[in-house]
Amino acid sequence: MTTTADIHEPTFLAGDEFSIPTFRLLQQDGTLHEGAKAPELDQEQALAIYRAMVATRVLDERMLAAQRQGRLSFYMQCTGEEAAVIGATAALDDADMIMAQYREQGALIYRGFTFDEFMNQLFGNELDYGKGRQMPIHYGSRKLHYMTISSPLATQIPQATGYAYGQKLAGDGQCTTVFFGEGAASEGDFHAALNMAAVHEVPVIFFCRNNGYAISTPSIEQFAADGVAPRAFGYRMHVIRVDGNDILAVYAATREARRIAVEHNQPVLIEAMSYRLAAHSSSDDPSGYRSKKEEEAWREKDPILRMQRWLGDLGWWSDDEEKALQESLRREVLETMKRAEKRPPPPLDSLVTDVYADVTPELQRQLDALKRHIRQYPEAYPKGARALDPDVQADATAAKGEK
């Protein structure tokens, strides 16, 4: 359906016809912007949000350190983007589906994924829901409605459209929120997902974390446009740009987006402007592609500190509480890490299960051959031997005893 106005001069538009403002409520000093109104958020929920943000920060710091010590092969931090991820999650219904990219562990923490659950995945042990098959940080939880992370970028975006279409047909009033980076938004799957969602009127929230970088690539080399937000116009979709370090604005925007999605079966695009304060991953060193000064400028905008000040002003949170929380979180992270490290690997059969609903004859043959081989060379495959035969190593048995 196209507009009918006519012109008789060849006038080209270039997007200067509109501009996309940024929605902000909270200033860095913890006070509201002039004219801003905080969303309804009672003390309990505000503190739940805040605790999840701090827990995410602490988990990230400790696990990066563990990676540096060689205890963990790989890690990715959410640092700097906690408000975006957790603010959005808090605005959803807990039974709404979340399909994340990989930097959204805060969403899981907010929904109650335990440190034990995190650690089991990070160490790929026998209790990992993913059975030690994926790299660290590829969490998933069925009971928390959090789709298992997949490394290929943007594939989850059209999947979210499909998932939400299923929710619409089911009529249970749920929607799906899909997180992705401004880099991933360059993939063809992004275009497919947004267009299909608009055409089929799907209750899905496309939440873009625009954190300025895709590994080393600055967003200016990712797109020439004013961010990701104006793409919504190409699909006829509601869109808002929000200060991603402003917990109140993210919460309010997402709550309203969810209303549009669920009440009107309309997709919504949210672009949260933030910054990846840490390296891309534990394999990356950003000093090769950006300045300390730039990082410092963003460190001043720390979303956690901002919320802490707001809570403090309300009298909902004190320095003592802060100290106690930090300490208990650190202790808990270390304890759960130690437990998870010691747990045995997943059983050898887990190599061939879940490829199909049932193990095929060929896979059974391959597993049987592998077992014979490992029995021949047990010392060459310590994990396999241990997983094959729980008696092989005493500490394996010990670890199992803890269950």
């Binding site: 997949s150 939400a164 279409y165 799957d189």
Partner: protein, 325 residues
């Protein structure tokens, strides 16, 4: 028993599946009110509504991405790719996502409800991009199942099985036979097993293995060979993943000879896999090299299509060579 062509049998299977289970959805390019460019989804929108049978925008990666999400949510999507030649934009969604969904999540989530239908194959003057047989590209992908029916009866029974299978299934339909293959098809619901080959003819001198549209070609070749006094055993593989090694091996242990045929190019085609596995299992029983009768190692041509295709004459020559080795 009513007589149907393959399209009618497929349409009938979809109708039964949608009638029985509200969660079954059919979609793809032109699939909605028009019923698909081959009319495999005719009348389904009329019958089950626009929410369950609909056109998608023209974007294969989106169709399969959407279908993966739907399947993960618990729906039972049957996605159509208009031609198998156009499945490649969805390759990442199929190979990296569909195939690995259950494994990577430890079965927290799976897309077992998904079926992807796509017409494949040559012989219709389609040239490079309306003739390809891409099954081997997918057969290297653990987590997928691949099914190819040879006639209307098989098409209906296998498609119903595919839709209800707990794993994602790629269902490649031999479009050359869509209207050409006609046969008796029961009106009622029935399923044929996935993962099981069928011995369509018993014999003692040589085993012929194929699938889909090649089965009809094999039949013609076998007629010629039997005139020469060569007794042929014919196997329709039906499923390429998982494929029924037992049935093929058992036959080759008996005949000592194997000829495999497919339309796709030879190098990297699925006949290579079968040959490799069977020479391993039947080594001491083989009386001649396993032969492959396939398309040339080129893109699919047009004017010289007849010359390109592995027809009955090429197959009968391979049978003779195998027997006279």
């Amino acid at each position: 028993m009513p007589t149907m062509n393959m399209l009618q049998a497929i349409n009938n299977a979809l109708d039964i599946a949608m009638g029985e289970d509200d969660k079954v959805l059919c979609f793809g390019e032109d699939v909605g009110s028009f019923g698909g460019v081959f009319r495999a989804t005719s009348h389904l929108q009329e019958k089950y509504g626009r929410a369950r049978c609909f056109n998608t925008p023209l974007v294969e990666q989106g169709i399969i991405g959407f279908a993966n999400g739907l399947a993960a949510q618990g729906s039972v999507p049957v996605a159509e790719i208009q031609f198998a030649d156009y499945i490649f934009p969805a390759f990442d969604q199929i190979v990296n996502e569909t195939a690995k969904f259950r494994y990577r999540s430890g079965d927290l989530f799976n897309v077992g409800g998904l079926t992807i239908r796509a017409p494949y194959g040559g012989g219709i003057s389609g040239g490079l991009y309306h003739s390809q047989s891409p099954e081997a590209y997918f057969a290297h992908t653990p987590g997928l199942k691949i099914v190819v029916p040879r006639d209307p009866y098989q098409a209906k029974g296998l498609l119903l099985a595919a839709i209800r299978d707990p794993d994602p299934v790629l269902f490649f339909e031999p479009k050359r036979l869509y209207r050409a293959a006609v046969g008796e098809v029961p009106e009622e619901d029935y399923q044929l097993p996935i993962g099981e080959a069928e011995v369509t003819k018993e014999g003692s001198d040589v085993t012929l293995v194929g699938w889909g549209a090649q089965m009809e070609v094999i039949e013609r070749a076998v007629e010629l060979a039997e005139k020469d006094g060569i007794s042929c055993e014919v196997i329709d593989l039906r499923s390429l993943l998982p494929w029924d090694q037992e049935t093929v091996a058992e036959s080759v242990l008996k005949t000592g000879r194997l000829v495999i045929t497919h339309e796709a190019p030879r190098t990297g085609g699925f006949a290579g896999e079968i040959a490799a596995a069977i020479q391993e299992r039947c080594f001491l029983y083989l009386e001649s090299p396993i032969a492959r009768v396939t398309g040339l190692d080129t893109p699919f041509p047009l004017t010289l299509e007849k010359e390109y295709l592995p027809d009955h004459l090429k197959i009968v020559e391979a049978i003779r060579e195998s027997v006279n080795f």
